[in-house]
């Protein structure tokens, strides 16, 4: 394949190809999408690995993410410091995990982190309430929300400690074959 691009070195592109689920062409396409978000900030030459972070506001305004109620959490989970500002590595990682070739375990792991709003390693009732509120845009009453959370905990909580651990979540994901098709962003 003609290596006419000057953005990455050959080794960098190979490394990206080996560590993500994308091919060379897709990685270049993703790079140009990233660059389009902040043309003044992102240089066109990544051979020297510049340390550039695109702020969250620009990431959240991407057409693929702007109507997603979980876009802030997604950006936070994949960013280095948890603040939503993403480097190119974070960006590629995010779309690689959300692509259709990522395996179920990997997606379940990141989905767990996304739904864990307070970042304590468990999905507690408060996290569930946040999730349901975001899902329904606040149009369910508080009573209904807490009912739903109770039912979810009753169904998925295996060791009955009142919150979902990673294993409980992964166990539940295994029973939902649609997870692979819904937890997927096309880019």
């Amino acid at each position: 394949m003609g290596n006419k691009q000057t953005v990455f070195t050959h080794e960098q592109l190979e490394a990206y190809q080996d560590c993500t689920f994308f091919t060379r062409k897709e990685i270049m396409r993703l790079f140009y999408r990233y660059q389009d978000l902040a043309p003044q900030l992102v240089p066109l030459d990544y051979t020297s690995c510049p340390d550039v972070k695109v702020p969250y506001e620009l990431i959240g305004s991407m057409p693929e993410l702007k109507d997603n109620p979980f876009r802030q959490r997604i950006a936070q989970v994949f960013s280095d410091d948890g603040d939503g500002h993403m480097t190119l590595d974070n960006f590629l990682d995010m779309f690689s995990v959300m692509s259709e070739m990522a395996p179920r375990d990997l997606k379940a792991y990141y989905a767990f982190k996304i739904y864990d709003f307070n970042d304590d390693g468990y999905i507690c009732a408060w996290d569930l309430e946040q999730t349901v509120t975001k899902l329904t845009r606040g149009e369910l009453s508080a009573e209904e929300v807490s009912l739903v959370c109770e039912k979810v905990l009753g169904e998925a909580d295996g060791d009955h400690d009142g919150r979902l651990s990673l294993e409980d979540f992964q166990n539940m994901i295994l029973r939902a074959p649609d997870f692979l098709s819904t937890f997927h962003i096309r880019i």
Binding site: M1, A15, D18, C19, T20, F21, T23, R24, K25, D67, N68, P69, F70, D80, D89, N90, D93, P103, A108, Y109, Y110, N118, D120, A125, W126, L128, T131, V132, L135, T136, E139, L140, E144, V148, C149, E150, K151, L153, E155, A156, G158, D159, H160, D161, G162, L166, E167, Q170, M172, I173, L174, R175, A176, P177, D178, S181, T182, H184, I185, R186
Partner: protein, 765 residues
């Protein structure tokens, strides 16, 4: 099974404790293997413990207790727990999963080791499927030489570089680490490979072998990546599918993906037929048939007859002899020699084996994709858990348009409300009358549909009998009656399918049973091929009409006349069943009209664009939740079972039992089509046993019945074993679930005890 840890209370930090008299809970002797672990963990999460407490105070409701079980008096509740307690809680192995890189690294180290040593029976925790990282974590964390993160990392790197390139790539891609981390792991594992290569080179007897092997593997890997990139570039309609998914969600997208799958199947069927049958015959055309050849008018595309009858399109065109390349007379003016330079090509054999082989390949591919799809969507012991699935798995991240996104919000809200209402209803008394009424109405509708089906079947049969008596050769029987199409928007999905399949069955019986007799001295295969071609054209026309009236006109009516803002929903099930019907026609007809898959491909391509345009302009996404992967499994199974199986039965019957017509086609002198193969085998036998082993295979494996019984018995045994394995897995899942629940109770008990102990200590200070 996992043993509960010998629990260790290590409370060295608070100096006042040393003054008190030792209590039974105050173990000052610490188990060595845990000392370092706990110290390490508590050092790096010391702030975490305090952070937890603060954040716990900030978080609203405490964890609700499930039913009548013990309430967890967790750190989120009590205001002042001792830092020692919090430190111990924060260092619980289950807490460190998913948070510390060290835990992930050790988990993947274990996975890599297991992969490398190829442990044949995976542990009950499973390797890829069920993830219980806490079980696997014990392998490394309980190691007496408790390792620092750096050492764990170097162990992982060493394991990685002993894998093959493909395995390493697979392992790296699946790790939930950041991309920068993965790249550095990859770098390190590759450089170490280089060093090892050198060492091996100096030592080994054949130093070049290892290097050669590595280079070959790398080259293949590169080639594979290049091919994949090419394939991805070829992906047709990528942008169109993205737009459809973005505007309508995964459910409507599944229809278009199914259409793409059908295209692939047709291409798979067409390629061997094109290469081995159609192409060869087109290159060596048979002698022109006597009589005038009709001129080409546009009407042939609709009726399939006329000019097309004398082309490669239909069975009758193919010659029944061995094709030789046209001989060039020798330069000295001599005759053509009997032995020509090129390879003689036995047309009947090629026809039979190509069609048979293509069907076989299609069968294998279908069964494989069906089992793969089934494996993805079915889980042993999967109970409902519908609320959890709705909350976590129902948001479709592909949806990118504002309007569609709002629709999704509404759908999920409605669905949650329905679930809650259903839950409450179930608690109330259920009236027997209401249920009986529901069942009665459903039964009545089914009876009605079956009666209509029966009526149509009888009508079709009677009509075809009539046509035979009217000497069908005089006129072209109209194919209109064979449509039996009801508009898909009536929503009679499965019943419609039954109707169509039954009618197709009647037609097949009619063709192979009665028509063969009636058209004895004409080319009945051509007739059947033409019928199927006409059915396909009609099917296409009906789909167009259906799209026009069902979607466009309905939208116009509902907007202008009824003044509703709602667009019609896209009927996924109905459209998919139409596709399956069209594919059945193709499979039925490929023996009699080898170019029918090409017609189907053209039809599918047109259909894609027409349906897409109509969808974008006229429709909205379905309101009811759609289990995309369940439905794709159902579609592929429907494609396999009534559709492909029926076509295969039809083909087998036509090849084995029906006498081919004597005036046309590649089998005109034989009793059955299968005889072509038998004749060839007999000829090979006569040529002597040294020529080929095929006659032996034919006599002892194909004509003998014993191997068939053996294979069936083996198949039954395998199926029985699988059923038993599934039963066993179900039992194991129940037991494991119970154990998890018990462990949870144990944990709560211990934590509560811990808190009470420290509280007593604090109070008595």
């Amino acid at each position: 099974m996992a043993q509960p840890l010998p629990f260790v209370l290590n409370v060295p930090e608070i100096p006042e404790d040393h003054d008190r008299e030792p209590s039974p809970y105050d173990e000052s002797e610490v188990h060595d293997s845990f000392h370092q672990l706990i110290q390490e963990q508590s050092q790096c999460v010391a702030e975490e413990g305090l952070e937890l407490r603060q954040r716990g105070l900030g978080a609203a409701a405490p964890g609700t207790s499930g039913g009548g079980r013990q309430a967890l008096v967790g750190p989120e509740d009590a205001a002042a727990h001792s830092t020692a307690t919090l430190r111990i809680l924060a260092s619980m192995p289950s807490r460190t999963i998913g948070r510390s890189r060290g835990a992930i690294i050790s988990q993947y180290y274990n996975r890599t080791v297991r992969l490398r040593r190829r442990v044949s029976r995976p542990q009950l925790g499973g390797v890829g499927r069920s993830a219980r990282p806490s079980l696997r974590l014990y392998d490394l964390e309980l190691d007496p030489a408790a390792l620092e993160e750096e050492e764990k990392r170097s162990l992982l790197v060493k394991e990685l570089q002993s894998l093959t390139v493909a395995q390493r790539g697979h392992m790296l891609k699946g790790m939930p680490l950041g991309l920068a981390e993965k790249r550095s792991l990859r770098e390190e594992s590759r450089t170490l490979t280089g060093k090892h290569r050198e060492r091996r080179g100096r030592r080994g007897l054949f130093p070049c072998c290892g290097w050669l092997r590595d280079t070959c593997v790398l080259a293949l890997h590169g080639l594979g990546l290049w091919l994949l990139a090419g394939l991805h570039g070829l992906k047709p309609w990528r942008y169109a599918l993205k737009r459809i998914g973005g505007q309508f969600g995964s459910s409507v997208l599944s229809y278009f993906l199914f259409l793409k799958t059908l295209l692939a199947f047709n291409a798979l069927l067409l390629l061997p037929v094109l290469a081995l049958v159609v192409g060869v015959q087109a290159a060596f055309p048979p002698p022109a048939s006597p009589g005038p050849v009709p001129a080409f008018t546009g009407l042939e595309l609709l009726t399939g007859g006329g000019r097309l009858t004398h082309t490669v399109m239909y069975y009758g065109y193919y010659s029944n002899s061995t094709l030789n390349p046209p001989c060039v007379p020798a330069p000295d003016g001599g005759q053509c020699g009997r032995e020509t330079d090129g390879l003689p090509y036995n047309m009947p054999l090629a026809y039979l084996f190509t069609v048979g082989g293509a069907f076989f390949i299609t069968c294998i591919t279908l069964v494989y994709s069906m089992s793969h799809s089934f494996g993805e969507s079915y889980r042993v012991g999967s109970t409902s858990g519908v609320h959890a699935i709705t909350v976590f798995c129902s948001w479709d991240h592909k949806v990118t348009q504002r309007r569609a996104s709002r629709l999704q919000h509404d759908n999920i809200r409605t669905h949650l409300k329905e679930l809650l209402a259903e839950g409450q209803l179930r608690q109330g008394p259920r009236s027997v009358c209401g249920r009986l009424r529901q069942v009665a109405v459903l039964g009545l509708v089914w009876l009605l549909c079956l009666a209509i089906t029966l009526g149509c079947t009888v009508a079709v049969y009677a009509f075809s009998e009539l046509m035979i008596q009217v000497r069908a050769g005089s006129g072209r029987p109209p194919g209109l009656w064979a449509g039996g199409q009801t508009p898909a928007s009536l929503g009679m999905g499965p019943r419609n399918l039954i109707l169509k399949m039954v009618i197709l069955g009647i037609l097949c019986y009619h063709w192979l049973g009665r028509r063969v007799g009636a058209l004895r001295d004409q080319c009945w295969e051509n007739f059947v091929g033409q019928e199927l071609y006409r059915l396909m054209v009609l099917d296409f026309i009906f789909i167009l009409l259906d799209t026009l009236f069902g979607e466009l006109v309905w939208r116009l009516i509902s907007e202008r006349k009824l003044k509703r803002k709602e667009k019609p929903e896209f009927d996924i099930a109905g459209n998919v069943l139409e596709l399956i019907y069209g594919q059945t026609l193709t499979w039925l007809g490929v023996l009699f009209a080898p170019l029918l898959p090409a017609v189907q491909i053209i039809k599918l391509v047109f259909l894609f664009y027409i349906k897409k345009t109509s969808l974008m302009a006229n429709c909205q996404a379905p309101r009811r939740p759609w289990l995309a992967s369940h439905m794709s499994t159902v579609f592929i199974s429907l494609l396999c079972f009534p559709s492909f199986l029926g076509a295969a039965v039809f083909l087998c019957y036509a090849v084995w039992q029906v006498k081919p017509s004597g005036t046309c086609g590649p089998f005109r002198t034989l009793d059955t089509m299968y005889e072509a193969g038998k004749v060839w085998v007999r000829r090979l036998e006569k040529a002597g046993p040294r020529v080929s082993w095929l006659p032996w295979v034919h006599r002892y494996l194909v004509e003998n019945t014993f191997p068939v019984y053996l294979v069936s018995a083996l198949l039954l045994a395998v199926i029985y074993l699988n059923i038993q394995v599934v039963k066993g897995q179900r039992k194991v899942i129940c037991l494991l679930r119970e154990q998890i629940s018990n462990e949870g109770e144990d944990k709560i008990f211990l934590i509560n005890k811990l808190h009470s102990v420290y509280e007593k200590k604090e109070r008595s200070r």
